[in-house]
């Protein structure tokens, strides 16, 4: 029979078992006579197998916590870019008039919320911001932004951690007192999460992810707004004390002073006065801690020493108890003198902890301290694995390594010394394997050997992961590598 181009569609249908009985029989009859078609069928079957293997490759897991930190950073970057953009020169008076409040907003965001009320002060701050954007930000004396109650430890944070894009969280037995400006603040109830969506001189927009938040809001001007969003509802206020709670999609709002408008998709659906409340349903436990006053709202003085956390390249956020503070600017907080455990997140969102001793006159965390903490962590992770436990695993793996070598020989003649660097995880599995040679090696060989090594299982090392190197001597004439 004259060779012809195999009909791939038909062969694919055969492999996928999509043919009727007669159709299948017809193709099988043809296959018995056509060598080219049989070879093509082999390739189609091979393709189906490797495709299925590719489908089943394990995928990395993307964690929400890491995603959320990236979102927070992104929101912060967007806010900073937006506020850092200088007004375009040479525009008319109207644009200039618009630019002044924008600059004022930029100033308040960069140096923290200080409750500036005068236009003149805002303009002065704007000018300072323009010239000092790249400088570390010094907290303004008395610009209290947070009291974090952590069991017996009361931490007073000042500076600019509470800025747009930040997420505030509390644990089960904690509450967070945050000053947003003169006469305005919130108490985040235990086990709650709140996103600072907008925080400018005239606008506060908070998004309650879960839990509850009590607000005390100073009397606002007509152009000011203070809004808390939760599950598609918005609570807008004018000088009041009120509470918003959320459990999944259920929302509860209770007003203690003043008035609160409840909006849904931009439309007002209720107007609450003192003593009134609004609930989509009444979830169990949602109405607890409905009336909380913000601690120290009018009192920023404190006698504890100051702990200063400068912006450091290794740190993206500080963690004090359950309060997460973005390390975008220098932070100062008042803490009791003595030993304190601090945690920080690196750029990849990994959490590291270390101990500091806060002196009576105050302390500052330097980069060297962070480096030492990271080094101590790395040292602590190194375990041990006795050579007599390594050897049997390598000996058992020699046939696989030989196969790799023989396969590599089909490509090029390879001889010489190689080093296989292996890192064994705490459970004995190989976490990493890399092959190094004195000269360039065929990629098929290096990958094959490294892949083999990744399948090895050693006894679990003592005290954590361990790394070692295995010398391999490749000789074509010999039967062993």
């Amino acid at each position: 029979m004259t060779p012809h181009a195999p009909k791939l569609f038909a062969l694919e249908a055969l492999v996928a078992d999509q043919l009727s009985g007669p159709g299948r029989a017809r193709i099988e009859r043809h296959l018995s006579r056509c060598e080219a078609c049989r070879a093509a069928l082999g390739a189609v079957r091979e393709y189906a197998r490797v495709r299925d293997s590719a489908r089943e490759l394990p995928m990395p897991e993307l964690a929400w916590e890491q995603m959320e930190r990236a979102l927070d950073r992104d929101l912060l970057n967007v806010a900073e870019r937006k506020h850092a953009s200088p007004p375009h020169a040479g525009r008319n008076g109207k644009l200039l008039a618009l630019a002044l409040p924008i600059l004022a907003i930029a100033a308040t965001v960069v140096i923290g919320w200080v409750g500036i009320s005068g236009q003149r002060e805002a303009a002065q701050l704007a000018a300072r911001t323009q010239t000092k954007q790249a400088q570390p930000v010094t907290p303004v004396e008395g610009a209290a932004t947070g009291w974090v109650t952590l069991g017996r430890l009361e931490t007073h944070a000042s500076g600019s951690p509470v800025i747009e894009g930040a997420t505030l969280r509390t644990g089960r037995d904690e509450e967070l007192h945050v000053h947003l400006g003169t006469g305005t603040g919130i108490v985040l109830a235990p086990d709650s999460e709140l996103l600072i969506v907008r925080l400018t001189e005239h606008t506060v927009r908070l998004s309650l992810v879960r839990g509850g938040v009590s607000s005390t809001v100073r009397k606002l001007a007509a152009a000011d707004s203070y809004v808390i969003e939760a599950a598609g509802y918005s609570a807008e206020v004018r000088g009041t004390r009120f509470f918003v709670g959320r459990a999944a999609d259920d929302v509860h709002v209770a007003v203690h002073e003043g008035k609160v408008a409840i909006l849904r998709q931009g439309k007002q659906i209720d107007l609450l006065t003192a003593g009134k409340s609004f609930s989509t349903t009444v979830p169990v436990g949602l109405k607890t801690s409905v009336d909380r006053l913000v601690l120290g709202l009018d009192d920023a003085s404190h006698s504890w020493p100051t702990l200063t956390l400068p912006p450091l390249p290794q740190v993206s956020a500080w963690q004090v108890g359950d309060a997460r503070l973005l390390a975008q600017a220098e932070l100062s907080m008042r803490v009791p003198a003595g030993d304190l455990t601090l945690s920080f997140e690196d750029a990849r969102g990994r959490l590291h902890a270390f101990q500091v001793t806060v002196a009576a006159e105050g302390s500052r965390i330097e980069e060297a301290t962070i480096r030492a903490a990271l080094q101590a962590e790395a040292d602590a992770r190194t375990g041990t694995l006795a050579p007599e436990l390594i050897k049997p695993v390598i000996q058992g793996a020699l046939p696989g390594l030989r196969r790799c070598y023989e396969r590599g020989l089909r490509r090029a003649r390879v001889e010489g010394r190689l080093t296989l660097a292996v890192r064994v995880a705490a459970d004995g599995h190989v976490a990493r394997a890399q092959l190094r040679g004195e000269s360039a090696l065929p990629v098929e060989l290096t990958e094959c050997i490294a892949n083999q090594a990744r399948g090895w299982v050693f006894p679990a090392p003592d005290g954590g992961p361990v790394a070692f190197e295995i010398p391999l001597n490749l000789k074509a004439a010999s039967s062993s590598p």
Binding site: V50, S207, R210, N451, A453
Partner: protein, 197 residues
């Protein structure tokens, strides 16, 4: 209105819980699709980038297509841009770098079997690298993701017939390439000798 649509509407208002629900519902699809195009060690970063783009662009999603279609298109765009950027950048890659941690996944299989199957899977990706961007996208969506040709046509904004043609020619190239790929050689033998418990 679908559950996705409701979540999207809420996420548009800054509702973080709604965005979290969207993320949890679709992260695996996104990671899987990204994994088809970028090296394993870059998958997490690129998938995270996809969701950052989603977060930034949700306001522009008008609901004219399904959310998943929009998400797939955005994922493809982000992965495509990443691959192009990486190609234009000189890079030193060490053998074995790309699979760190994969074998630490819990599995009922023996490590040797798993390693062999992983090797085949990775070899398949090496073959995919030989395809043009257009053919690779069509093939990945159709053969690996199981997306229907009509849906792919909408995603890539091309006629359905073009999708079928690209998949056909992509497979044809891979059939030919299979015989050249050393890691894939002798699978018949592998099947009879290695799949024993």
């Amino acid at each position: 209105m679908s559950e996705d649509d409701l979540l999207v509407e809420r996420a548009k208002t800054g509702d973080r819980a709604a965005f979290r629900a969207l993320f949890l519902a679709h992260r695996q699809q996104v990671v899987r699709l990204v994994h088809r195009f970028v090296p394993a060690e870059e998958v997490e970063d690129v998938a995270q980038d996809v969701f950052l783009h989603v977060h930034r662009s949700l306001a522009s999603f008008r609901g004219e297509s399904r959310f998943t279609t929009w998400l797939y298109r955005l994922t493809l765009n982000v992965a495509r841009m990443h691959v192009r950027k990486q190609k234009s950048r000189p890079k030193l890659r060490l053998a074995g770098d790309d699979e760190q941690g994969l074998l630490e996944q819990p599995s009922h299989e023996t490590p040797a079997n798993l390693a062999d199957r992983n090797e085949r899977g990775r070899a398949f990706y090496r073959l995919l690298d030989r395809l043009s961007e257009k053919k690779r996208e069509a093939l990945v969506l159709h053969d690996l993701e199981g997306v229907a040709a009509e849906e792919i046509a909408k995603l890539l904004d091309i006629p359905v017939m073009t999708v079928r043609t690209r998949v056909f020619y992509a497979r044809k190239e891979l059939y030919a390439a299979l015989t050249d790929e050393p890691s894939l050689a002798g699978f018949a033998a592998w099947l009879t000798t290695k799949e024993e418990p």
